[in-house]
Symmetry: C2
Subunit: 200 residues, 2 copies
DNA sequence: ACCTGAACACCGTTCAAGT
DNA sequence: ACCTGAACACCGTTCAAGT
């Protein structure tokens, strides 16, 4: 895979570009055959370069996923541990809903996929791990929350966004973060505002 | 639709039964053609009775969805408003993850579907509405939580369950309910246990 | 009125044949 | 080494023809 002949390299790049457009236009279920045609290659060529729909999606989104992971480092330096995690989760969701087809790469890979390549899931899991550990060490996040939980939360909202355009997934993420318990000023409330989980 | 000739009625019933098996076995994407074949009818017959995959799913799951809605009435009578809503959300999620293909009927219907029939979404929305109003009136749930939010939460977790077998969706729902803020005994915590949102 | 079988337009995967 | 075009097995939708 490292040393690709010039024409093969070009085929691959054209496929990825066509796929990017197709995913944006038609979502995760975009026709692979149409992508191959758009790229000006045969469908067999597409399948040689990308054994699965997911591998193609990984190639399309890898760079931007790494950029989101990089945001974690910045937040970790600039914010308190709790807010850093919260901000990053919001950013990750924003990124996921803005890129149709992306969530495919954020789900835990199946067994065959595991061996092959880097995937969006592991890139973001590493980023989340660092933020979550710090937040939990600072006592800003419950100890029973796992890295898998944080990513799964983003994935659940992303999947919903693809299926239900009316859903306010950002609001739902806030609920998951702050809980749906009574607000501080509500009647009968016994739960204060979550100072560690600021709105902005 | 009310007065169906005997043979048509039998066709319809066989299709629904075959679909129930197929959804359980293959999930929401089960082949409609295979369902028709299993039912011993032509695919055109299936399409006459059910104009869309969703309409077929509605027929398969309607009874059980109504049973879940009925649970809401029982909980409303037996529990305090806050716990009643929480328990019902858990029950709804359990029901959704236990029945592959069901979540299709719980998503808000698209415009064409709206006019046609009762759907799982509106059945559960009515049930959730009653519980949520009471819980909010009692101050047990934040005022900015909508009926759509509660159902969307269940739907998001259901969709995730279908895509990610490793996800602990029940744990995620608990997070959404109680928040991922610091636990009462955690260091630096300023948030007490949510008395209105008991674990059981 | 309701059904069937067939036709249609699509899809992803694979393989033999080319350069 | 890499590609193409074609073949294969599938899918959902629709329609003409039957009873």
């Amino acid at each position: 895979m490292r040393t690709l002949r010039a024409d093969a390299r070009r085929s691959r790049e054209q496929i990825v570009q066509a796929a990017e457009t197709a995913f944006r236009r038609y979502g995760a279920d975009a026709s692979l055959e149409a992508i191959a045609k758009d790229a000006g290659v045969g469908s067999a060529t597409l399948h040689r370069h990308f054994r699965s729909r997911r591998q193609l999606a990984e190639a399309v989104f890898q760079e931007r996923t790494e950029a989101v992971a990089a945001v974690a480092d910045r937040l970790k330096a600039e914010r308190e541990p709790g807010p850093a995690l919260v901000h990053w989760l919001r950013a990750a969701l924003e990124y996921a809903v803005a890129n149709r087809g992306l969530v495919m790469t954020l789900l835990p890979p199946s067994d065959e996929d595991t061996a092959t390549k880097v995937c969006g899931h592991q890139i973001l899991a590493a980023a989340a791990d660092s933020l979550l550990s710090a937040a939990q060490a600072a006592g800003a996040v419950r100890a029973d929350v796992t890295v898998a939980d944080t990513l799964a939360l983003v994935n659940a909202m992303s999947l919903l966004a693809e299926q239900d355009a009316t859903a306010d997934v950002h609001h739902l993420l806030e609920l998951a973060i702050t809980g749906i318990g009574p607000s501080p000023s509500g009647p009968g409330s016994s739960r204060p505002a979550a100072g560690e989980m600021p709105r902005t």
